[in-house]
Point group: C2
Chain length 329, copies 2
Amino acid sequence: MADVARLAGVSSQTVSRVSNGYEGVTEETRRQVLAAMEELGYRPNSAARALKRGEFRTIGVITFGLATTGNVRTLEAIATSAAHEGYAVTLLPVAVPTQNEVRGAFSRLGELAVDAVIVILEVHLLDAVTLSLPPHVRIVVADSDAGDRYTVVDTDQAGGSRTAVRHLLDLGHHTVWHLAGPEESYAAERRAQAWRTELTEAGRPTPPLVRGDWSAESGYTAGLELARQKECTAVFAANDQMALGLLRALHEQGRKVPDDVSVIGFDDIAEAGSFLPPLTTVHQDFAEVGRLCVEGVLRQMRHEDTEHGTTLVPTRLVVRHSTAPPPPR
Amino acid sequence: MADVARLAGVSSQTVSRVSNGYEGVTEETRRQVLAAMEELGYRPNSAARALKRGEFRTIGVITFGLATTGNVRTLEAIATSAAHEGYAVTLLPVAVPTQNEVRGAFSRLGELAVDAVIVILEVHLLDAVTLSLPPHVRIVVADSDAGDRYTVVDTDQAGGSRTAVRHLLDLGHHTVWHLAGPEESYAAERRAQAWRTELTEAGRPTPPLVRGDWSAESGYTAGLELARQKECTAVFAANDQMALGLLRALHEQGRKVPDDVSVIGFDDIAEAGSFLPPLTTVHQDFAEVGRLCVEGVLRQMRHEDTEHGTTLVPTRLVVRHSTAPPPPR
DNA sequence: GGCTGTTATGTTTACGTAAACATCTGATGG
DNA sequence: CCATCAGATGTTTACGTAAACATAACAGCC
């Protein structure tokens, strides 16, 4: 900066002013400074800036792996929104989703060049961790509950699930089976609970719940079991990957979709329209979730809003060809 | 830091020594300092550290979206490897893959708190951009060519493709059709070229090339066309998503896989084993690519190696149930 | 016992920037 | 024609850390 100042024949403070787009600089001076910057290839040093300003203009994202579509899509939206606001995004992968690992990530966080954190993680993992957080770091949690302790942004899991179940009931199915995600997952639990509620309110029996682990493979295993239940004509899978495995199992067992069994998924991943048959599913607006997460941390950083609470992003039913009325009995 | 020093009754320099695990500190003193840190909730300020040390311990990753499995898996591996080496990863998403956008990302890079950059991007987008790079920033390019200008880590596209084609020829198919990725993609071009080479070397005719854009939807469209070619008994799709669309199109047109037509993919995404039928495909070791990228930038930063060059990560053929001998004529 | 060398700790300084304050220039108005 | 003021620019300083250098304490040796 001093070199630039010397070359432009001004003080370093003026260089700083130009570099930050400050107003009180003559057009003439500005031009000279910019020319000097160009000639010397000057780049502001972000470490010094961060030190001086007390902020890094960076948001950290803590997440357990990038294996699930939802996390990735949300992350992508966060990165885009953050870039739009002039913030960078730093990734903090947690290898194994245990409390210890999460605690580790959080304590590293203290030393990390980050102004705020977005956590895409089941919140029960956060329970014992909060205390070790540096107090100035703002947090928004995606995909979780605990709106009382944190600012939470989430897809409307319940609404989406109930829409899915209602869609199948409206087609004439007597009841709907559920292929749930893993117990540890809050999203999975919410979807299962909403499925149960919707059936109960409609006065329908609740079949035993079948569990998977989000993977297509687990959907296949569960599907082999479901195919044996002859009275099962409709299945609500808690995500599209498991629905894919389910479709394969049903096909192998000679149960036609949607003629014999209707299948509905959740997420609306890019490939869902290319399944055999194209999958009816609940569309999640991950981009909106990501955007709201960024908005949330920024608002907290500007102290506009210190109140916690949960924001729900609505879902949308996408009807393709994997659902149909039940076969005549 | 001064507060900690005061409380522990030492100088701030000693606090710094403890904080950095320096050796020449009495066990007694160290304990006191650690206790003081704990009591005051001291966290080292990473901006000041970066300013002093002249490095950020952060690697930037420039990528065009997180839509493709390959990018995501590579990114994940990069993040994990980097964390393992004590480095953080900052994401620099490029919204639209034009040279201007990429140039923008690179110039922002100069101001970004980043010691090195890994570019997961078609390199032809980099052509006009290099000059604007701050000279001290180290670069590794994944998924590209240009080993002469950069250090490149890539999957062995050619080897994988030739294995795929040979597998189909070995099964007895007279020739193999190719469903290619978009022209702009270097990986797509390499795969197409290897397909052509392998056929030529085997003395087989080269059917016209069919193009998609990596998406399942484009695979479906292309599949409808391929289904019309009655002499087509084997297709090598340049990625698994397109293979998925292709499977759907063939199914809809009454062409059985693998009895009438064999299909092979590329990538081995997690869901490939759950397609109908389970997809034979070329497995890419994204984790290894990510690891080598990190290793590459770190080596450059330690000045152990200033030479450019390309490292190829081998692939592996995963045979499932979408390939079989051709039907009797 | 004084000299040398080693180890533990303290003091000074600089990293690059921008806020706060100081100064200078020229214009306006009485 | 000078006082006043606004706008442009310069000077000083501090952000938190760690390298470089300085000092103190103490052991070993002739």
